[in-house]
Amino acid sequence: MKQLLAQVRDLGRITGGPLLVRGVVFVAAFTGLLLAAPGELPARLMLGFLVLAVIPAIAPGGIAVTLVMLTMVAMWLADTLLFGAQPSTGRLLATAAALYLLHNAAALAAVLPYDAIVDNQVLLRWAVRSALVLGAAGVLAILLATVLPGMYITTPTVALVVGLVVVAAAVALLTRLGRRP
């Protein structure tokens, strides 16, 4: 109880920079959940999404961010596989952007102490880098949409195996990048 009171008292120390970043986390999580959710949403589900989106903003360093991202992916799969929805390119790109922004803003919020005095240049540089990544991903998405025949590709078994090997190699590469000295 004493700890909880101390935490509530500490809330008064929060500064503008970390609050802004946590706000971005919340907006990205909520928008992403709305975009990924299938069909028309009942009001109760909206409330659930609100609560779900607040958790990563409160604890950006915890596992909640991963869970919300996985929820978004699961809902996207459910919408497209179970309900057979045909999402527009705009919705697809917006969901991808929300997924990335949630991850990226949470990564920043996790390393910013909540009561820190933050230099504006830090936030500006972060925003520019995020915009660059989103721009590059957007170009890649348009290229994929142009090259590939459609959203669904029927693959032969050989292509499936090759694809899986490529994915495994990509994941291994990313993991190795993080771990190498």
Partner: protein, 461 residues
Amino acid sequence: MSQGASPEGDLEPVAAADTGENWSPTRALGRAVLVAGLLLVAAVLLGRTDLVILAAPLALSVAFALGKRPRALPGLRLSTVESFPVEGGDLGATVEVENRDVTGYDLTVVHLQHSPWLRLEGGSVDAGPSRRGGNRPYVTLVPRGVATAVELAGPAVRWGRHWLGPASAHAVAADGLLVSRAVVTGALGVKVYPLTDPFKADEAMPRAAGLVGQHRSRRPGEGGELAGVRQFGPGDRLRRVDWRVSLRTERLHVAATLSDRDAEVVVLLDLLADAGRSGGIGGASSVLDRSVRAAAAIAEHYLHRGDRVSVLEYGAQARRLRPASGRRQYLTVLEWLLDAHPSPTAQERGGAQLAAGISAAALVVVLTPLLDARSAAMLAGLARSGRFVVAVDTLPTDLTSPPVNTWSDVSYRLWKAERENTMGQLGEHGVPVVAWAGAGSLDAVLRDVSRLAAAPKAVLR
């Protein structure tokens, strides 16, 4: 200003440079790889391009961020401006973070711990006044090959030896995917001198000694104070001749003066007990605060007039500063006062023992809150030993007792009445007790003490 040779606390990153242990991945890296991997696997298994597009920004960001990763730790240096602040004076500190790596840091989080009596606030980081200060971390950008300084400034609100530091910093790179080990500097010592209350005493010293100084003595000699006019005698200087009287009386007369002498002042600090809560320079003051500030003021006043001043401690440590005069002694007294702390002790010397180390001609100014019965006994003992003692009451006037029960107020009033009784008894024993009130505090009692000094006295030997 620092304790030690260097005013800077500097720590080079320790040994582990160029090893992978300096930087560790954050949870964000694992999250990005997990979600991107799952999306890509699902994309291949289900033959879906939309999942590839969903995974693309995550995978791209990890590859983009980790393409060039940092290796060395940031350099950190803590320094302070070499100055001698008094209470309320400004102090400046700089924490410098250096990036000696091949890639820029996204941000560096700098923590600076310091004494609560140093109200340091960030000056270089843009923030509103309400958000400043209060031992907050500072987050700053450190590009490649550049050192960024976080400058802090603010007043030191209480006298004493304060600590500044240690400062610590950790850097974040690769879009928050990697975080460095913390680099920590050493701490610096900062001396803040007490602000001297305005103090002035115009009255004569009880017994001046020596041949130089500014006090008029009761002995004739070269000086500025006119004692009378007498007939010219051998040895008198011509410039002393009073021509008007000489013409009138037709005999040579000279103006006789009293010699100017210096005196020894002993400031005795009673550190047996402390009371009240210190609120710094603008707030409430404790007994110790009042004692130290009053001691500094008294020492400054008498040293400025050319007297010899020594400072003694009545407490467990029993420190003693030898008598001396001049500006150097004033600085020594201030330095000595920085180490004054309440030091209760079970066995303390009596007044007679203390008097043995005090010159018989010295004026003893005892700064005491009279909270301990031994303090009153010590004062009486000093007076019995023939020393000229003035007690200055340093108990804060706004001191109140915390209400514990219904009897608290009554018992507090009783205690105050008993204390006033003790003060009255001390007065009867020839120890005037006066409340500290800055300028002119001691004038009334010094007059009494001087009168007593002039009278014949029976002294216990």
